[in-house]
């Protein structure tokens, strides 16, 4: 299979996953998260982050009982907004699971956090203050922490790391995959040894208003690929993973969970919000090419699977273009998590790693009848115990920002 990348990139350095950090509505930490995935848990409730009067429906998947005081060790709770609190917390969890001290990141790491809304929850608050008392009444503490850069800066600051590449990637609902991909490339090029990569977002009025106004929010539950699907449940959380060069992981005797084989990036250049099927297909093809994986070797696809009319049928068709008449199972983790925006593809990546190490395919829950236009096996409602070797994880965002990542079981012989 032809490689579309520079032949001599990175001396074939391999990139492995050594830690997962999860802040979500269905679990804190990878263990709780894994349990929820196994049983098909979801936590849907009326949105509490803002006053929802006036909306006909306002259900979401918020992270319940998140007390920043409990989780943050160095950052003060007012130093950063909620999304940054999530990313810092998930990053610390991932690092601890990997058995790496923060000091091990100095001079050899990249922190990349993807997001859709960054600290828009704080922007909403500033607007409320402005409406109540004029712009002079904007709270300096809140105003000082709204830069999107804070989502990744907060991770470094929470860990006390200084000599580190820090990037907030604003590519919306595929941003987690972008962050994972950026670290993958940087490790392969030998620029870094460790990546702390993922995504984070916090529930906010701004986001819910947009999706509601576009008619893409569901009144009750999220039903990807189901005939009666009506849209997304807005959600929040963070997923951060530790990526490491294989040499670094082996040298310190780390427990290796999986290996990142490659990824693809395309841009639809088509429409601000509607996806372009051929570009989605091309993104998956590029990921397979980069990973040197054949379609028939993929054990399941973790779809973007928002549960909107448009996405699910477009994505299914694109999958069939690439994978033929008998594609592998195609699941949507958004059925359990809701749409966690910038965290979505990172949490889905983490779930894919858990699937590999635990030997099961997480289910697409809330499923009653597969839409005939989505000709896929979505592993309805119950997890399927099976050996999992290779997973393709899709992120397809507004603005046509597509990113697909391939993660696989680590085998010491490549």
């Amino acid at each position: 299979m032809e490689s579309y990348l520079t032949p001599d990139r990175g001396d074939g350095r391999r990139v492995v996953v050594t830690g997962l950090g999860v802040v979500s509505s269905i679990g804190f930490g990878s263990k709780e998260f894994a349990q929820s995935l196994r049983v098909g848990r979801s936590r849907v409730a009326p949105i509490g982050a803002f006053d929802t009067r006036g909306f006909d429906h306002a259900q979401g998947c918020e992270v319940a009982d998140f007390d920043p005081q409990t989780w943050l060790q160095r950052l003060g709770v007012d130093d950063v907004g909620r999304a940054s609190q999530f990313s810092a917390t998930a990053a610390r969890m991932a690092l601890e699971e990997a058995g790496l001290a923060p000091s091990a990141l100095e001079g050899r790491a990249l922190i990349g956090i993807g997001t859709t809304d960054a600290e828009s929850r704080d922007l909403d608050e500033l607007v409320e203050q402005e409406l109540a008392g004029g712009p002079e009444s904007m709270d300096p503490v809140v105003a000082g922490r709204v830069s999107p850069g804070m989502l990744s800066v907060s991770v470094a600051r929470e860990l006390g790391v200084r000599d580190v590449d820090v990037t907030t990637i604003g590519t919306a609902c595929s941003a987690g995959n972008y962050a994972i991909g950026a670290a993958y490339d940087a490790i392969r090029l030998g620029e870094i040894d460790v990546g702390l990569s993922g995504g984070a977002d916090a529930m906010c009025r701004k986001n819910f208003t947009a999706f509601y106004r576009l008619g893409t929010t569901t009144p009750d539950v999220c039903r990807p690929f189901d005939t009666r699907r009506q849209g997304i449940l807005t959600a929040e959380g963070a997923g951060v993973v530790v990526l490491e060069s294989l040499e670094s992981a082996l040298a310190r005797g780390a427990s290796i969970q999986a290996e990142v084989l490659g990824y693809g990036l395309t841009c639809d250049a088509y429409h601000p919000v509607a996806p372009k099927e051929s570009s989605v297909a091309r993104c998956m093809e590029l990921a397979l090419l980069d990973a040197e994986v054949k379609p028939e070797d993929v054990d399941f696809i973790s779809a973007h699977g928002t549960g909107t009319k448009t996405n699910d049928v477009t994505e299914s068709r694109a999958i069939r273009t690439v994978f033929g008449q008998s594609p592998p199972p195609v699941i949507s983790l958004k059925s359990m998590l809701g749409h966690t925006m910038g965290a979505a593809s990172a949490l889905a990546f983490s779930a894919s790693v858990i699937a590999i190490t635990n030997g099961f395919i997480p289910p697409t829950i809330n499923h009653e009848q597969t839409d005939p236009e989505c000709e896929i096996d979505c592993v309805p409602n119950e997890a399927r115990a099976t050996s999992v070797n290779v997973v393709l994880n899709n992120g397809l965002a507004f603005g046509g920002n597509n990113a697909s990542v391939i993660v696989a079981r680590y085998q010491s012989e490549a």
């Binding site: 712009p135 105003a143 919306a172 620029e191 841009c267 639809d268």
Partner: protein
């Protein structure tokens, strides 16, 4: 007279750039403005904007419809329109090949249109129902709107990324773009940064205390875009290029590296020193090779350290914050453009290195190094 110097083989090369700033549209307008050294006009901000500043160095005559034509521009936010204009100016300098669109990436440094985000919430909270917002403006409320629009407008289907790291975003974006090229995910990257002026940014900066004092450092806005090409494979490849037909002097530079640093609170001189030393060490640059430094500010931790490290005093540094004002998320890119501008005519530049540093009040620092290569003088 043409001065030719080695372009580092294996490094991405900046072969073209353009800008839309208060100095006007295009590279030549920017070159002229910076060369003259006169600050861009401090213009009274229209009352209707409800901004925090009475005057600012915003682009008073900039209008999306005027800049881009009527078709498709009515609902564009100011930030997106600025980015689209700058990309258009860049592509006029260095057109994109249609067949190459999948291999042409776009990486934009931006904090997004905070204005659009806050306006939407404001509308939601002051309307009869909380969802009575303009659907046409919804795309403007996400961080990647401008980058996505540029892709649509100019048919760019290669990797498309939005880097949202405040004032250092332009240098962060350069780092991301360089990596795409080195690993082979694109053959060319249109890379830069943009920021818009408006009530949202002005009041947030005022409240946060990051609004800088004095008219000299009034807020500015604009967009700067570079064309970054994949590293040369060999010396012949490195020597290629047909930029000699330009009307004005032009320099190509190679990107040697970008390095960052996160401070405990605000960036201090020791942070600048450590970051710049790290950058030079990683890129194998001898301090004696430094031709110029370009800090983001005349005040603050950068100049004293850069002066100390390289023996370059204020007079020889390239710092234009007093000319175009606080450029927000476009800062790092504007600084690099000023370096490109100076490199085109400075006879001491070819073969030597410029160090650019950029400080964000959140305590985030970025430094970049570029080597000046070919100069073409008409």
């Amino acid at each position: 007279m043409t001065a030719v110097a080695d372009i580092a083989v294996g490094q991405p090369v900046l072969r073209a750039w353009s800008a839309v700033t208060a100095y006007g549209r295009g590279r030549e307008a920017f070159d002229r403005g910076v060369a003259r050294g006169e600050p861009a006009p401090l213009v009274p901000v229209p009352e209707a904007w409800a901004a925090a500043d009475a005057r600012a160095r915003f682009i008073a005559d900039f209008d999306a419809v005027k800049a881009l034509g009527r078709k498709g521009s009515r609902s564009l936010d100011r930030l997106t329109a600025l980015a689209l204009s700058a990309v258009g100016e860049l592509l006029a300098e260095e057109p994109a090949e249609e067949e190459a669109s999948e291999r042409t990436a776009l990486v934009l440094g931006t904090n997004g249109s905070t204005e659009s985000m806050m306006n939407q919430t404001r509308t939601a909270l002051t309307s009869a129902r909380p969802f009575f917002v303009d659907a046409a403006k919804i795309p403007s409320t996400v961080l990647n709107c401008a980058a996505g629009r540029c892709a649509i407008w100019y048919s760019l289907t290669g990797p498309n990324a939005t880097i949202a790291t405040g004032r250092v975003a332009g240098l962060s974006a350069l780092g991301y773009a360089g990596r795409l090229l080195r690993v082979g995910r694109a053959d060319r990257v249109l890379c830069g940064a943009a920021d818009e002026y408006g009530w949202a940014r002005s009041w947030i900066d005022r409240a946060a205390g990051s609004a800088r004092q004095g008219d000299d450092l009034a807020p500015g806005e604009g967009a700067v875009m570079f064309s970054l090409d994949a590293p040369a494979v060999g010396a012949e490849d490195a020597a290629r290029g047909s930029r000699d037909e330009r009307k004005r002097p032009f320099a190509e530079v190679s990107l040697l590296g970008v390095r960052q640093w996160v401070s405990e609170k605000q960036v201090k001189p020791d942070d600048v020193r450590a970051c710049v030393r790290g950058l030079l060490g990683a890129a194998g640059i001898d301090p004696a090779e430094i031709w110029a430094v370009a800090p983001s500010s005349h005040s603050g931790p950068e100049l004293p350290v850069l002066g100390d490290l390289f023996g370059i005093d204020d007079a020889d540094s390239i710092c234009i914050d007093h000319l175009l004002g606080d450029m927000g998320a476009a800062s790092g890119s504007v600084q690099l453009a000023a370096v490109m501008s100076r490199a085109a005519t400075d006879q001491r530049a070819p073969g030597r290195v410029a160090v650019i540093t950029c400080v964000d009040p959140a305590g985030h620092l970025a430094a970049a190094a570029v080597r000046v290569g070919r100069q073409a003088v008409a």
